[in-house]
Amino acid sequence: METIKNAWRKSWVGYLFLTPWILGILAFTMIPMGASLYFSFTRYDMFTSPEWIGLGNYIALFQDEKWKNSVTVTLTYVFLGVPLQLLFALTIATLLNKGIAGLRFYRAIYYVPSLFGGSVAIAILWRQIFGGSGLINNVLDYFGIQGINWISTPSTALYTLIILMIWQFGASMVIFLAGLKQVPMDLYESAKIDGAGFMKQFTSITLPLITPVVFFNLVMGIISAFQAFTPAYIVSGGTGGPLDSTLFYTLYLYQKGFTHFQMGYASAMAWILLLAISFVTALIFVSSKKWVFYQE
């Protein structure tokens, strides 16, 4: 009893300051998470009370062709878009890190797209640029090439969104630049004396030393790409079309939950999304022991 009292005497100020956070995490995270896990085992339309159906939603999911398609679309978006985005970020960061004048200016220029990129305004712009009589086709026309409507062609629509993601490489580039600055210059000096060329220097000095930054960017990029919503919603007008080719996982979840009011089904989708993100993140963490090098 005395020890509890003592602990409380020492702790109460800490908990006083934590009160908003604790209330918040209970009300907006813990309890909703529990509720959505429960809903995922029920049929629930928000107007009548939830009806327990066990694994029914999960079984239905794996038989739902539209769901499977949304998984494919999202995985393509994530695993094609994120690596390409990082490739661009690292390439430009490496060039900027060569001690050229105007670094801050260039960095700012390249950062702007990732500041704007998530907005509705840019998604609208994208819809015009890649549309039938959009900017891209006007440029192609100038060279005498007849372009297609990239947005309404099922085989190209998703790639316009992947290009939009790559276009926003600025934030990861800024992080890469900060990482590159920490690579000791004398390593390059000695490598030069040993006759190592640019590519050799890059693969045996730069790349190994910035693997922690690559790791960070990869994890963050993948987590956020899995949750992308705005571009697909705006560019496809909320449908995920044409022919569901841009039906992102989160967009399908939104349709199921908030236009069809299948709350149970949407909750099951949310939990699978959580599991998928955790699984991929865990995989990268485990593999990182093999390819991420921390300087002591």
Binding site: A7, K10, V13, G14, Y15, L16, F17, L18, T19, P20, W21, G24, I25, F28, T29, P32, M33, A35, S36, F39, M46, I92, L95, K98, I100, G102, Y106, R107, A108, V112, P113, L115, F116, G118, S119, V120, A121, I124, L125, Q128, G131, L135, N138, V174, I175, G179, V213, F216, Q227, T230, Y233, G237, T250, Y254, G257, F258, A270, L274, I277, T281
Partner: protein, 298 residues
């Protein structure tokens, strides 16, 4: 004198000259490539801005940057909005939500950060770990019950679902950011305050908060950007046009006017990006620091 002359002749030896020239060419090509690629990257944006001053037919036919005759018609048509509600209303609504979110985040996240960075209490490592895990959590696992709760409270079509949670430190990133910052503040200052009779509450208010100003500025900026760019939760909770934000206004514009109104749409899109651009221009340092804070140390 002799040596400096020697160095001078060495510096001007043909080989040295060649090396220097080669270096200069290399630098030139790097600059050339970076500028060229930068122009390609920014061209869509610049084109949108210039198109917002073009007459509608020109948007579809012209790749050119400069409008043949500049007009403000797109801005006046766009600003008028849809069914009598102007973009002025949408901007006011967005600024209101953003301001409240900023106040909420600063108060609640700095309180939690002070506790984590400086105070002793039981289960601290455990609670800190929970905070870090919530950073990675996709919000989809909580959004449905949250919606149901707000719906039952009759708060759908109010600003509460978008603002109230911010007063409960729901954005762990800012707690993390401020914890990192507060850990760097010298402890001697607090010890001095303690000797002068300051308790933890006054220490927080008079010492830690003012000293954490850079972290507070970063929090303000990122809250601004994220709330401004937010679409999902606004789409979810606001369906009354009088409560629409800029993002929702643009979306509705797109639905209502369709492909026919690219001019006004570009005009309003451009306007919607101006606040972000201003933040970028005036607070670039904090932006870059905020982005790198997690990346390099982590």
């Amino acid at each position: 004198m002799e040596t400096s002359k020697e160095i001078y002749t060495q510096l001007n030896s043909p080989i040295q000259k060649q090396i220097r020239r080669r270096r200069a060419t290399k630098k030139f090509f790097i600059h050339f490539f970076i500028i060229l690629f930068g122009i390609i990257m920014l061209y869509p944006l610049l084109w949108m801005v210039s198109s917002s001053f073009k007459v509608p037919t020109e948007i579809f036919t012209s790749v050119s940057f400069f409008p043949t005759e500049a007009t403000l018609d797109n801005y006046t048509t766009g600003w008028a909005g849809v069914s009598g509600v102007t973009f002025g209303r949408f901007f006011l609504n967005t600024f209101f939500i953003v301001s409240v979110a900023i106040i909420g985040n600063i108060i609640s996240c700095s309180m939690a950060a002070y506790a984590f960075a400086r105070l002793r209490f039981s289960f601290k490592p455990f609670l800190f770990a929970i905070m870090l895990i919530t950073l990675m959590l996709p919000f989809h696992v909580t959004i449905i019950p949250q919606y149901i709760i707000f719906n039952q409270l009759d708060w759908v079509n109010t600003f509460y679902p978008l603002t109230l949670p911010k007063f409960f430190a729901v954005e762990g990133f800012f707690i993390f950011l401020m914890v990192q910052f507060m850990r760097g503040i010298p402890r001697e200052l607090e010890q001095a305050a303690e000797i002068d009779g300051c308790g933890p509450i006054r220490t927080y208010w008079y010492l830690m908060l003012p000293l954490s100003l850079p972290a507070i500025v970063t929090t303000t900026i990122f809250t601004f950007i994220w709330t401004w760019n937010d679409f999902f939760s606004q789409l979810l909770y606001l369906s009354n046009i009088n409560l629409y934000t800029v993002a929702l206004g643009l979306r509705m514009f797109l639905d209502a006017a369709g492909q026919s109104a690219w001019g006004p749409m570009f005009a309003m899109s451009t306007l919607s990006l101006i606040p972000l651009f201003l933040v970028f221009v005036f607070f670039q340092k904090f932006l870059i620091e905020g982005i790198t804070a997690g990346g390099v140390k982590g």
